[in-house]
């Protein structure tokens, strides 16, 4: 732990609230709730005796799956950095035409679940699919297979690089551009100035974004499932569905969690904990890089990326929408209830996550010590644990405590107003899974916004007679509100497209947009996925625009 050697005046903590006991207890309780689901994986895995466990872990099949997962993760991360960092520089520091527009366009794929893209591409590029039928007259008998690991790497990269783009862009914007000008006046070339001045400053942001990409890549369930890539997430689902596969599924889950925890431990070493507020009112923007004759190629590159990730899937779904399918089955027909279900559970998850994130993030930002750091880290475990694993753990939990008495408790729904409430596959447990899974987004956004509030403001409030609670309400809360809302919006956005936990934990008959897409793929009735997918694209797009607006970008 870094000890605070700043001047006393710059200390974040003040004398009267050096030990916020209540806040610490609350934060600890929230952290405990977040790790709770994981324990059931261990319970289930512990049922297996040592010899059999050894046999499960050290078989060739297991190595193959592990290797595939690591290759997927590594390739996606490297490709994402290579795409995102130049894009960030291009849209922040150059005179690229229509930068605001391109900023939204290149960030937007984040809003789209990668399996939406995977599904779209599979539906047309699969063997004997639409594209091949178009090309047949030209003598093309076979397309390169879209299935398998390479296809999954390309598609996941196209939809996850924005994690790096967004963190890098934020760092570039917060970075004092006059430093670059200073370097230029010291006879450094543009490239040298970037390498020696800009890059060291934005490196933590790139690393933070890359970490998110790595986590997402190894946790992604939908795309490997649709593309039949043999990685952990898909195998866990298959084992869970197969008879007697529960134990192997538990072991696969634990291996996957081990990998994600490793990523997090690397990340924690590179992440700084320094306050982000500045005492000076403004940071210079510096001069922009003139692209000159590279202006149009750069614009074309942004355009092409936007076309492939955004326009093409929309065109494909539109194509399916207007293509009459012969195998139309009523059971797959779309109903507005599906959309309402999606929005409803996502909104509840967003509000709950934002509320729980506040104490954890505030404590970690304002009272940096071992304990508050540990609590904050623990809430990130929910992010380290892929949705399929959280889903599985809660399934194990539900199998043990399938029902319990909740006499008199009402959720405002007649079907739930029974004495025996089924926990396994209920809305509360589904929301709980979402909150555990996406809490870090709320914690991260809130923590950053707390760090941006100069602690002197809290001190000023205290000297003006405000009790700590009242000072928090009247000063800190209004100032961090945009961050808290942005965090909630992120949770909402990601919950909308969450697939694996939804599949495992939804109550029977509870259909959302994503479950309709899943069902359509399973039954190969691609046309039926068109409406849910298009709705998901529009809703996600709207949320993304809100988030970009939140961060007050002025081009």
């Amino acid at each position: 732990m870094v000890t605070d050697t700043n001047e006393p005046a710059d200390r974040a903590s003040t004398a009267q609230d050096a030990r916020p006991l209540g806040l610490t207890l609350l934060s600890g309780a929230i952290a405990a709730a977040m790790v709770f689901p994981l324990s059931w994986l261990l319970v289930r895995a512990a049922e297996v005796d040592a010899a059999r466990a050894f046999g499960i872990v050290f078989r060739a099949r297991n190595f193959e799956i592990t290797l595939n997962s690591l290759v997927l993760m590594g390739s996606v991360t490297v490709l994402s950095v290579l795409i995102a960092v130049p894009l960030a520089v291009l849209t922040v520091r150059t005179d690229l035409p229509y930068r605001r527009f391109w900023t939204v366009v290149v960030a937007l794929p984040l809003a789209l679940p990668s399996y939406i893209g995977a599904f779209a591409f599979v539906s047309v590029f699969r063997p004997r699919g639409v594209v091949q039928s178009w090309l047949e007259p030209f003598g093309v008998q076979e397309l390169p297979s879209i299935y398998g690991l390479p296809g999954a790497i390309v598609i996941i990269t196209l939809y996850t690089y924005p994690y790096v783009y967004i963190t890098t862009r934020a760092a570039l914007k917060g970075f004092d551009g006059s430093l670059v000008d200073a370097a230029l006046t010291l006879e450094q070339s543009r490239w040298a100035a970037f390498r020696r001045v800009t890059l060291p400053q934005i490196q933590p942001a790139i690393a933070a974004g890359a970490l998110l990409v790595a986590l997402y890549a190894v946790s992604d369930f939908g795309t490997p499932a649709f593309l039949q890539a043999e990685v952990f997430t898909r195998q866990i689902y298959l084992e869970h569905r197969s008879l007697g596969g529960a134990h192997y599924a538990a072991f696969l889950s634990l291996q996957l969690v081990a990998i994600t925890l490793l990523i997090l431990s690397v990340e924690s070493r590179i992440r700084g904990n320094e306050p982000l507020y500045t005492d000076s009112a403004s940071s210079g923007t510096g001069s922009r890089i003139r692209l000159g004759r590279w202006k149009w190629p750069a614009t074309m590159a942004c355009g092409l990326l936007g076309f492939v990730t955004l326009v093409l899937p929309v065109l494909i779904y539109a194509h399916w929408l207007f293509t009459v399918q012969t195998t139309r089955a009523e059971t797959f027909a779309f109903s507005p209830i599906h959309a309402l279900n999606s929005v409803g559970v996502s909104a509840v998850a967003a509000v709950v996550a934002a509320a729980l994130a506040l104490p954890v993030a505030y404590l970690a930002a304002r009272h940096p010590n071992r304990l508050s750091w540990a609590f904050e880290r623990v809430t990130y475990v929910g992010f380290a644990v892929p949705g399929i694993v959280i889903g599985l753990a809660l399934v194990f939990f539900g199998a043990n405590y399938g029902t319990f008495s909740v006499g008199g408790y009402s959720l405002g729904d007649t079907t739930l107003r029974t004495v025996e409430l089924s926990v396994y596959q209920s809305i509360p447990i589904l929301v709980f899974a979402y909150v555990v899974r996406f809490m870090p987004q709320a914690v991260g956004a809130t923590r950053t916004s707390v760090l941006q509030v100069n602690p002197k403001l809290t001190e000023a409030a205290a000297t003006l007679g405000k009790e700590p609670i009242s000072a928090f309400r009247s000063v800190t809360l209004p100032l961090i509100a945009p961050g808290v809302v942005a965090g909630a919006a992120l949770v909402f956005l990601t919950t909308m497209k969450e697939l694996p936990a939804t599949l495992l934990l939804r109550p029977t008959g509870f259909e959302t947009l994503v479950t309709r897409i899943w069902a359509a793929e399973s039954a190969a009735v691609y046309g039926q996925a068109a409406i849910p997918a298009l709705i998901l694209i529009v809703v996600s797009g709207c949320s993304m625009v809100i988030i970009l607006k939140q961060e007050d970008y002025d081009g």
Partner: protein, 372 residues
Amino acid sequence: MAESVHTQSRRTQTDETNEDAILELAEVRKRFGNETAVADSTLTVYEGELLTLLGPSGCGKTTTLRLIAGLERPDTGVVRIDGEAVAGDGTFVPPQGRDVGVVFQNFALFPHLTAAENVAFGLDDWNAVERERRVDELLELVGLSEYADSKPRELSGGQQQRVALARSLAPEPEILLLDEPFSNLDVDLRVEMREEVRRILKQAGVTGVSVTHDQEEALSISDRVAVMANGRIEQVGTPQEVFQHPRSRFVAGFLGDASFVPGYVTGDIVETPLGRIGRDRLYGLAPEYDYTRIDVLVRPDDVLAQATDTANADGRITYRRYLGPTVLYRVELDSGETVGAMHNHSDQLSLDTPVTVDLAAAHELAWFPTEN
């Protein structure tokens, strides 16, 4: 170290029962890790005065201010406000219970509130009518009535400072603390705001404790100055006292350009390279210093250098800096010491000119026993 051993008559520090004392620090100590920020400081501030803690950065002056505000907790010692212990003696009153206002270095205005809302912030328990009147009154006091609805980012640095001042004065604090209040302002504005802040404090009738590293600022606005170094209060007194009769060489040097010339005390006369000085001109030179060596403090404006021929010269000009209205010279004396001399800008002495040096000061001079 042992520079303050000689006896000089001083305005004695208060006895405990002083009726006018509004703030007392008694043996207050604060450490951060291994670093002692404030070492056994004792200080008394009187009702209605403006006292400035002056010292180089890292001397503990800001920590002292934060201890008074309740933003830090002292390790040992007692802080009393209006006779009541607010820290130490087994009690600790948090800032919100202290009746102490603070103007922060970066003003710490709430960015989401307008100027008027900032000023009203500490007036929660006033009724609406009185609150509004108080806000209007303070905005008028600081001359910002027409900016009531402006957000801090729409205001200039000087205006922000006025809002900060109005905000901290609004709840009628007993003591107002100002942490480097002018350091965030442009130089021109700084001088203007000094006068302005002093006027506002006096008009509001509040006791002020200010912190600065700028000696000119401290001397020009304060009723009394407390000079700090290494966590200790070296000397407390009126600006004239600390400037003319510094108790230590550090204080002498920190408050202005200081040169020391050696002297030898013989009866009614002190022999120095600048000639003989009457003993009565040395402030509080006690009999026990007879026939000992002392160092006499001379400031550039005390010294007059005049061109002469080599034979009669006391030294040579070795340095010359044109300051506009005045010219600062340094003269290396034949005895080896260097003294500064401040002349009117019309005087022209070039480098290496042989000069005689005379003491032109009419006031008493400060002195220190020579260190061995």
